[in-house]
């Protein structure tokens, strides 16, 4: 891993922690943007320039703008004062630990002999990368590509249907929370 790789990794980790531990969702969102940009940097370090740019365009340019939009529209304050308690964070840390503890040894066992940087250093020089990815997507993966476009279309339609105001609003159940409309 190069120097830049370490820099981006550190940023990504710090920002990831920021996402989880910021009380204000808007700060979480900004942290996530930083994290996503750091990931784009990591892709770049790994030689996937096209993906790096796509990452910026799709995640930073579209998805996170949408999230910010929603956050600003709803104008939410920090999470309500209710205390987290002690059990939940502990259990959550247990989750995190167990994910890492179960997967990492298996992966390490799988890959410890293989050195990454010795492999195919100049695989995607210049614009060969974009061209090669294009040929993969429009060649072997054409069906999946078309399907994913269909998924996007359905997503758009679904989002519109969901956020359209309906004439009949099914209110919260009796005794449920947030009774006022």
């Amino acid at each position: 891993m190069t120097f830049m790789g370490f820099v981006f990794s550190a940023i990504a980790l710090a920002a990831a922690l920021g996402v989880v531990f910021n009380r204000n969702p808007l700060y979480s969102a900004f942290s996530l943007i930083v994290q996503l940009l750091a990931m784009a940097g990591l892709y770049s370090v790994l030689g996937a320039h096209f993906l790096a740019v796509t990452q910026v365009v799709v995640y930073a340019g579209a998805i996170m703008v949408l999230v910010l939009f929603v956050l600003m529209l709803l104008n939410l304050k920090s999470e309500s004062g209710r205390k987290l308690g002690i059990v939940k964070p502990l259990v959550a840390l247990g989750v995190g630990f167990s994910v890492v503890a179960t997967v990492f040894p298996a992966v390490v066992a799988q890959f410890k002999d293989i050195s990454l940087m010795t492999l195919q250093e100049n695989l995607w020089k210049s614009e060969g990368g974009v061209k090669a990815i294009g040929q993969e997507i429009y060649g072997r993966y054409i069906v999946q590509f078309e399907l994913s476009s269909l998924v996007l279309l359905i997503g758009i339609v679904g989002a519109i249907m969901l956020s359209k105001r309906k004439r009949i609003v099914i209110g919260p159940r009796e005794g449920g929370l947030g009774g006022k409309q």
């Binding site: 980790l13 990452q55 695989l123 999946q144 996007l152």
Partner: protein, 100 residues
Amino acid sequence: MSSIVTYIGLSLVLFAIGAVGVCIRRNAIVVFMCIEMMLNAVNLAFVAFSKLQGNLDGQVAVFFVMVIAAAESAIGLAVIISVFRSLVSVETSDAAQLKW
């Protein structure tokens, strides 16, 4: 440590942080963002594997994950907004009517 293990480790840790976030945060939008982060963690692993294998399958997979993430964000945020409309809250603990 210039091996793939570094990247996989980073990917795993990011994934775990995301998972923890999903578990402990109550704001649905933050939960949603944590899920995005987990997707990204997996993407990183994909790209690293792609580099390791010397082919582009991993990168293509990342591309598709991004597409799905975009669709997911559109739907997810729409859901959150419509939940907000009826509950006046986006906290997951408030949207707890679907139970026994």
